[in-house]
C-alpha cells in the first residue's frame, strides 16, 4: 500500500478528496474459493449436492456486486497542536465524508519516536487518536490507513493518509532558582541590586533628608536614635542572559545524551529567567559555527529560543563565529550560561577567549557518558587518560574564574546551581 498523497510533509487539507482503491475482500475470496470448489467437484464427481454447497457462496457474491462503492471520499485530518513538548499528548482527529453508507475503519501507524497513547484502530466516519512524541525534533506524526467496506463486506477500498509534521520540543528540566550577576544594567526588573532604589527588599536605614517620603520613615529606629530615620530598599534590576548551547557532540544514550540534556537545560533556564523578567537570548554552537537569537522578553521568547536551537542546519549562519557576534546577540555584561559536554577543544578555547573578554560565564557540564570500559590494560589506561584530560579541562576553566557544575539530567537544575544562587555571581569589569 503506497501513500496516496505524494507530499509526505503535508496532510490532506480541510476538503481533500482522495481516491480509493477497491479490491475484493478476503471474505469474498474465501466465498469464491468455496463456490468454485463446489461447482468443480459437482461437475467432476457428478454429485449435485456439491452444487448446492456452492450456491450460498455464489448468491452472496452476486448480491454484493450490486452494492454502491464510492470512488472517492473526503478525508479531514486535524491535529490538536502542531507543537508539543516531549511526553505531551496530541490528539489527531480524522473524519471521512461521502462514504455512501460504507463502514470506515481507521488504523494509525505512529511515526518514528512517536508513541500511541491509546487504541490505534477505530471504526466510524470520525475517529480520534492520541499520540505522544518521545523525543524532540521535527517528526512525522505517522500515517493513517483508511479501509472502507461495503455493506456486504465483499469489497474493500483502501487509502493511506500521511499525517502532518509535528514539532516536538525538548521537555524543559526543572529550575526554580536563578543565578544573578553582581552588576546589573540600569533596567527595571525583579532582581535586587546593590544600589538603593524603589524595590521591596529592605537593605538598611539612614537619616531623613528633605524630600524623603513620609511613609518610608522607620519610626522605631527614629525613636531609638532621636532623629528621623528612613528605610532603604534595594533597587530592582533585570539582567541579560545568553544561553550558549553546544550542539557539537552528542554522546550518551539517545534520550539522555549530552545534546538532549543541553536542550532541556537551556529550555529550563530560558523559562526560569524569562519568568523573572530577564532578557534571554540563545547562541547555538556547532562545529565552530553559530546561530543566535537576540535576547528578548516574554513567554513567546521560550518558543523562539527552542525553535532557534532546533532549527535545521540549512539555516546556520555560515562563517559566523562566537568571536564575531554582534553586540545585540551577545550584549556586554550579560550572564552567559553554557550547556556543553566540553568535548570540543575549539569550544573550550572559545570559552576561555570569552572569559578573557570580560563575559561572566557559568558552565553546566552535561557529559554523562564515558568511553566503554574493557579489561585490556591499554583500554583501561586510555580511559584513565581521557578522564584526566576532562578533569584538566574543567580545572583550567575554574582557574579562569568560570564555574563548572555537573548536571546529570535527572535531578533539578537547582541542585548543581545551589552554590551560585545565594549570592550574586561576580561579574568582571569589562576591559
Amino acid at each position: 500500500m503506497s501513500p496516496v498523497i505524494p507530499d509526505g510533509q503535508q496532510g490532506p487539507g480541510p476538503d481533500a478528496e482522495l481516491e480509493l482503491r477497491w479490491r475484493s475482500s478476503r471474505h469474498a475470496r474465501r466465498l469464491l474459493t468455496l463456490g468454485l470448489a463446489g461447482v468443480l467437484i459437482a461437475t467432476a464427481a457428478r454429485r449435485p449436492e456439491f452444487a448446492g454447497v456452492a450456491a450460498p457462496a455464489f448468491l452472496l457474491l452476486g448480491a454484493g456486486r450490486v452494492q454502491r462503492r464510492p470512488p472517492r471520499i473526503g478525508v479531514r485530518v486535524q491535529l490538536s497542536a502542531r507543537r508539543a513538548f516531549e511526553g505531551e499528548f496530541v490528539a489527531i482527529d480524522v473524519a471521512a465524508d461521502g462514504n455512501d453508507g460504507c463502514s470506515v475503519r481507521w488504523t494509525l501507524h505512529p511515526g518514528d519516536l512517536i508513541e500511541s497513547a491509546g487504541p490505534t484502530v477505530a471504526d466510524g466516519p470520525e475517529a480520534r487518536f492520541t499520540v505522544t512524541p518521545q523525543r524532540w525534533g521535527q517528526r512525522q506524526a505517522g500515517t493513517v490507513d483508511v479501509v472502507l467496506r461495503d455493506r456486504w463486506r465483499l469489497a474493500e477500498g483502501r487509502l493511506t493518509v500521511t499525517l502532518p509534521a509535528l514539532h516536538c520540543y525538548p521537555a524543559p528540566a526543572e529550575q526554580q532558582t536563578r543565578v544573578v550577576l553582581s552588576r546589573l544594567p540600569n533596567r527595571l526588573g525583579e532582581h535586587p541590586a546593590r544600589t538603593s532604589g524603589d524595590g521591596i527588599e529592605f537593605t538598611g536605614v539612614r537619616e531623613y533628608v528633605p524630600g524623603d517620603r513620609q511613609r518610608s520613615i522607620n519610626w522605631p529606629a527614629s525613636t531609638r536614635r532621636g532623629r528621623l530615620q528612613v528605610n532603604i530598599f534595594a533597587a530592582e534590576r533585570s539582567q541579560d542572559v545568553v544561553l550558549l548551547a553546544d550542539a557539537t557532540s552528542d554522546v550518551g544514550e539517545p534520550g539522555s545524551s549530552a545534546l538532549d540534556l543541553a536542550l532541556r537545560g537551556a529550555a529550563a533556564a530560558a523559562r526560569a529567567y524569562l519568568d523573572a523578567r530577564d532578557r534571554v537570548g540563545v547562541i547555538t554552537y556547532q562545529w565552530g559555527e553559530v546561530r543566535w537569537l537576540v535576547p528578548g522578553l516574554g513567554r513567546r521568547q521560550v518558543y523562539r529560543i527552542i525553535d532557534s536551537m532546533l532549527a535545521s542546519s540549512a539555516g546556520w549562519d555560515r562563517g559566523a563565529s562566537l568571536l564575531r557576534l554582534p553586540r545585540a546577540a551577545l550584549p556586554p555584561g550579560a550572564l552567559v550560561v553554557v550547556f556543553s559536554p566540553l568535548l570540543d577543544q575549539r569550544f573550550v578555547e572559545t570559552l576561555r577567549d570569552m572569559r578573557e573578554r570580560g563575559f561572566t560565564m557559568l558552565v553546566i557540564d552535561v557529559l554523562n557518558a564515558a568511553p566503554p570500559g574493557r579489561r585490556a590494560t591499554v583500554d583501561r589506561m586510555a580511559r584513565r587518560i581521557w578522564r584526566m584530560e576532562q578533569e584538566a579541562i574543567r580545572f583550567s576553566l575554574r582557574e579562569l574564574g568560570i564555574p563548572v557544575v555537573h548536571w546529570d539530567g535527572v535531578q533539578s537544575l537547582d541542585l548543581p546551581l545551589a552554590g551560585y544562587n545565594r549570592r550574586p555571581l561576580l561579574s568582571r569589569p569589562r576591559r
Binding site: 452476486g62 508513541e115 463486506r153
Partner: protein
C-alpha cells in the same frame, strides 16, 4: 525521557470479539470433524484430513494473534523478536482458510454420496466463513443483517441441491448423473435471476 518501547503489545479485546473468534474456531473444527466422519481409508483422505486440520488450526492462531501489532521499524529488534515478526507476517499473509476449505471439501468427496450430510457441511462452511470474517474485522454480527434474506435463499438452494442428490437415477450410466447436475445448475441460475428482488437495495438494512 525515552521509554522502553515494547514491540509486541496486545491490544484490548472485548468479549464479543473473543466470542466470535471462539465460534469461528469451533465451527472450523466442527467442519473438519463432520467431513472426516466416518474415517475414510481410501485415497488421500488422510492427507486431506491433515491439511484441513493444519488450515483450521493456523487460521485460528491467526485470529488469536490478530491483536498483536507488528512493528514497522524492525532494524533494532533482537533475533528472537525478528523471528516472531517473521512468524506473524507469514501467518497473516497465507490464505489458511481457503486451504482449509479445499481440504474439507476434498475430504468430503472421499466418502460415498451422502447428500444431506454434505448439505449440512456446506451450511457449516458458510457459517465458518462468516464467523472468520467477523472475527478478523472485529465487526458485530449485526453487520450480517442485510444478508439474511440472501442467506435464506442460499439455504433453500442447499436443500434443493441435497434433494437433487437424493433423487434416484432415471437410468444407469453417466447421462443420468449429468442430468441431475444440470437440474441443480438450473436451480442456481434461477436463484441468481431472483436475486435482485431478494437483495435489499443499498441504504436499507
Amino acid at each position: 525521557m525515552i521509554r522502553a518501547v515494547r514491540p509486541f503489545t496486545v491490544g484490548r479485546v472485548n468479549a464479543t470479539a473473543v466470542a466470535v473468534r471462539v465460534a469461528a474456531c469451533l465451527l472450523g473444527a466442527g467442519c473438519v470433524a463432520w467431513a472426516a466422519e466416518p474415517p475414510a481409508h481410501r485415497g488421500p483422505a488422510g492427507f486431506a484430513l491433515f491439511l484441513a486440520i493444519c488450515g483450521v488450526a493456523a487460521g485460528a492462531l491467526r485470529l488469536a494473534l490478530a491483536g498483536i501489532p507488528v512493528p514497522q521499524d524492525t532494524f533494532l529488534l533482537t533475533a528472537p523478536e525478528h523471528i516472531v515478526v517473521r512468524f506473524l507476517t507469514a501467518l497473516r499473509a497465507a490464505p489458511w482458510e481457503e486451504g482449509a476449505l479445499l481440504a474439507i471439501v476434498w475430504l468430503e468427496v472421499q466418502h460415498p454420496a451422502r447428500p444431506w450430510h454434505t448439505a449440512l457441511l456446506g451450511g457449516a462452511l458458510v457459517a465458518y466463513l462468516l464467523a472468520v470474517h467477523l472475527a478478523e474485522s472485529d465487526a458485530s454480527p449485526r453487520v450480517l443483517r442485510p444478508q439474511v434474506r440472501v442467506l435464506a435463499v442460499g439455504v433453500v438452494l442447499l436443500a434443493l441441491g441435497a434433494g437433487a442428490g437424493m433423487l434416484p437415477a432415471s437410468g444407469p450410466g453417466a447421462g443420468s448423473a449429468l442430468l441431475r447436475l444440470v437440474a441443480a445448475g438450473a436451480l442456481i441460475a434461477a436463484a441468481a435471476l431472483v436475486l435482485p428482488y431478494v437483495s435489499p437495495p443499498a441504504g436499507e438494512d
